[in-house]
């Protein structure tokens, strides 16, 4: 009865796109950000004896004293080179996958020690990955992420969560 016969296409226009005062972030130079090195992280997770051919293992020989250290080194490697500046979604997905893999490989009792070994910036970065992991929950990820969240929160406090929310460039 009251069918609208006039065109309502104008309602679908996103006027914010045409606003000349629209705020656009500055484009920072996107460095070569490939995300954490998957091979490196994989090799460190698997707990087999040191191989001489593996140059990365050679560098970390002093650090890796027991099998437990493999996890720590993998953890640190996974948190290096975060794909913050790049707009490539594939790189970001890949990085998220790597970090999630490392986080799940930790035993519950080791989480606290791992978080304590991080510096402030890395705690913030860890929080960013944790919240990104919350966005797409898979079978067991939420429970593990929540344990990591509790420990990271104890170190980073509410400030680290606020920084996840206010970050302009996220992982």
């Amino acid at each position: 009865m009251a069918k609208n016969t006039l065109s309502s296409r104008f309602r679908k226009v996103d006027i914010d796109e045409y606003d000349e005062n629209k705020f656009v972030d500055e484009q920072e130079e996107a460095a070569e950000q490939q995300g954490p090195d998957e091979a490196e992280v994989d090799s460190l997770i698997r707990q087999y004896p040191l191989r001489e051919q593996d140059t990365l293992q050679k560098k970390k020989q002093q650090l890796i004293k027991s099998l437990n250290w493999d996890n720590m080194a993998a953890f640190h490697a996974a948190l290096r080179n975060p794909p913050i500046n790049t707009k490539n979604q594939a790189v970001k997905e890949r990085a998220q996958g790597i970090v999630l893999k490392v986080l799940t490989s930790f035993r519950s009792s080791e989480i606290e020690q791992a978080v304590k070994s991080l510096d402030k910036n890395s705690v913030d970065l860890l929080m960013k990955y944790i919240y990104k992991g919350f966005e797409k929950p898979s079978d067991n990820s939420s429970a593990i992420l929540l344990q990591w969240h509790e420990k990271a929160f104890a170190v980073g406090g509410l400030g680290s969560i606020v920084r996840v929310l206010t970050a302009r460039k996220t992982v």
Binding site: N21, F23, K120, N121, D124, G156, G157, L158, G159, S160, V162, R163, T166, A167, R168
Partner: protein, 370 residues
Amino acid sequence: MSYYNFLLEPISCHAWNKDRTQIAICPNNHEVHIYKKEGGDKWSKIHELKEHNGQVTGIDWAPESNRIVTCGTDRNAYVWTLKGNVWRPTLVILRINRAARCVKWSPKENKFAVGSGSRLISICYFEQENDWWVCKHIKKPIRSTVLSLDWHPNNVLLAAGSCDFKCRIFSAYIKEVEEKPSPTPWGSKMPFGELMFESSGTDGWVHSICFSGSGGRVAWVSHDSTVAVATGSKNTVISSLRSETLPLLGVTFITENSLVAAGHDCYPMLYVYDEGKGTITFGGKLDIPKQNAQRGMTARERFQNLDKKASSETEKATLESVHKNSISQISILEGDKSKCRKFCTTGMDGGMTIWDVKTLESSMKDLKII
């Protein structure tokens, strides 16, 4: 430390008069109320300034000339002068099309600056020939609302913190009212509107900004829970600290090296800046909590806690700080930014607290204010 609760509504902004016997506050509406200190802990309302049509967002009281400037969301600013026993307003046309957010008299009180949502700062000065307040705009390169302002002691440089995540220092030199300023660590050429410094690396809105007593340093707090200090020089270095607290809303220098900041965590905190190392460190929480008697928990309560909250701790759910809601503004009461003896905080709980630096120093063991 004394706490006085003015109202149940948040105090939007406040300003003190020269001898600190009167305080002008905005009780979260279109008016400004002036309270006078009676003996002891009593305050009585002596004036009500009603002229604004929108919420009053900024008040500043010029100590020497005894004028009050207010700005509000009705896009206007008024300069109030005391005639006899009545405050009379004079309208200032700011030529903005969004709300005004903050206002500050310059140190010499011959001009004031208004930050607004129109992405610009209005610098207003009095023109004698026309008997009228005139304003000039600083527009570039501000890209969002200006939330906070602070003047440099030389009456020319103005620091502005805004919602485009940057803190900037502009020159607000008006040749009609003053002479050319001498060079400062922030630069030597200062034509009107010149950008002397722009910060980078913050991810949140800059809520509050403050010059140090000498003007050589500027500190700001932003919504990503960081505190940052920059020291002016040829290559300005910015030091920042990521805190574990909720975002801070107000900051002020109390000595050249120490800052007091407060915000959504409802208590003021001390930060110490070390220029040599370029670091800011957390100095301590400045609230003296009351010693509450620890009530033992019954077994039933413990089990209920475990059931409902999955925790068997005996933490209470009440705030232990003096302010029961976020602190929105800090102002210096006694002393100045290089040596402050008392400062005052007002917040969204409608309360005002006066903090004494000496008492805080003596009551907190590790507190060092250098």
